[in-house]
């Protein structure tokens, strides 16, 4: 009995260390905060257009429980954001190949810088909202750039990714969800 009690601290240590190791290797990244908006309707915020020849977007551009529309991808980007540049080819490919409309949300940017950025890298967006003050992005719960939201036909946010999109993630997380939404509709 005494001998077992001596081993108690070691046992506790192994349990705690094991838990930490498991969290470290297989746990979720603590920097990724689960979105509070998953399952909720998109914010009401109305976004003015960035370009003269392309509309901005607001609540009415997404579906609602009464009037369903096609699912939409909302991609938050800015010309000052390096990872946005890195993910841009994948966003472009998604918009082309998956026949899903992608709305761009340009945040905290200079209009001319954003226009130049899109001219250089290509513009895959169906609509682009312009939020120079960074107020609308707070309604969307944005805290890092870029962020991407998948909105279903009823106008509810079903998935959010913080950080740049990359092929593996698109294949694993995004495409199955997009296809499921399309299958539903």
């Amino acid at each position: 009995m005494k001998r077992i009690l001596f081993l108690l601290p070691l046992g506790l240590f192994i349990i705690v260390a094991g838990y930490f190791a498991w969290q470290l290797l297989y746990g979720r990244d603590p920097r990724i905060i689960p979105s509070a908006l998953i399952g909720n309707p998109v914010p009401e915020t109305e976004l003015p257009p960035l370009k003269d020849d392309k509309p901005g977007f607001g609540r009415a551009d997404f579906g609602s429980p009464d009037a369903e529309k096609a699912p939409v991808l909302v991609n938050v980007f800015a010309s000052w954001c390096g990872p946005c540049r890195a993910e841009h080819p994948f966003v472009t490919a998604l918009a082309k190949q998956e026949s899903i409309e992608v709305y761009g949300l340009n945040a905290k940017d200079n209009r001319q810088a954003a226009l130049d950025w899109l001219r250089d890298l290509g513009d895959p967006y169906a609509k682009i909202g312009f939020d120079p003050q960074g107020k609308a992005v707070l309604d969307w719960g944005v805290y890092g750039y870029p962020e991407t939201y998948l909105v279903n036909g009823r106008g509810e946010i079903v998935f959010k990714h913080v950080g740049p999109l990359y092929p593996d993630l698109i294949e694993r997380e995004l495409l199955p969800r997009i296809r499921a939404l399309k299958g539903e509709g």
């Binding site: 905060i33 509070a36 908006l37 107020k135 719960g141 805290y143």
Partner: protein, 170 residues
């Protein structure tokens, strides 16, 4: 031994530091003058709210302390909501609706957070139980170790403490 002069000077130095600390303005966090509200009462409320809102980029800092862009945006947002007549709770709910309960540095007491809040009490309870058994075991051990003197030792002890023996030796 230190001279009177050096003692006096160190005492003056200490007093000086104490005065400095007492007179120093309270730390004002990362709030910049251009964010502040004109009404000091409203500004004070905004400060109280921001002290309990987590900066989502730096995560263990409040937005009141953080220099991050997002923290600044949230501080301005809080002041805007206050100007529109929101109560402190309404402002907090507004932020929780967008960023989740994670945004609160003080997690609310709910079924899911009960373990978090209860853990200190549980640990104190477990500690007290451990201490109780430790002392009980200690008491038993001394009681058991009591009558282990041999007859020879007993005799020697009684001869040592008997008053007559003491007199003989002196």
């Amino acid at each position: 031994m230190p001279s009177l002069m050096s003692r006096l000077s160190s005492a003056i130095l200490c007093a000086g530091f104490a005065l400095l600390i007492a007179l120093a303005p309270s730390p004002s966090g990362a709030v910049l003058p251009d964010e502040m509200l004109a009404d000091p009462a409203m500004e004070a409320r905004a400060r109280v709210i921001s002290k309990d809102i987590r900066c989502l980029v730096c995560q263990n800092q409040s937005i009141d302390d953080s220099d991050a862009d997002l923290a600044r945006d949230l501080r301005i947002l809080i002041r805007e909501r206050l100007n529109e007549g929101d109560t402190n709770d309404q402002v907090q709910d507004y932020l929780v609706a967008r960023y989740g309960e994670y945004v609160l540095l003080n997690p609310p007491m709910r079924a899911g957070t009960l373990l978090l809040w209860g853990a200190p009490a549980i640990l104190v309870l477990l500690g007290s139980i451990a201490v109780f058994f430790w002392f009980r075991g200690l008491g038993r051990k001394t009681a058991a170790a009591g009558p282990t003197l041999s007859a020879e030792e007993e005799a020697r002890l009684s001869s040592l403490i008997s008053p007559r023996n003491g007199k003989d030796q002196s």
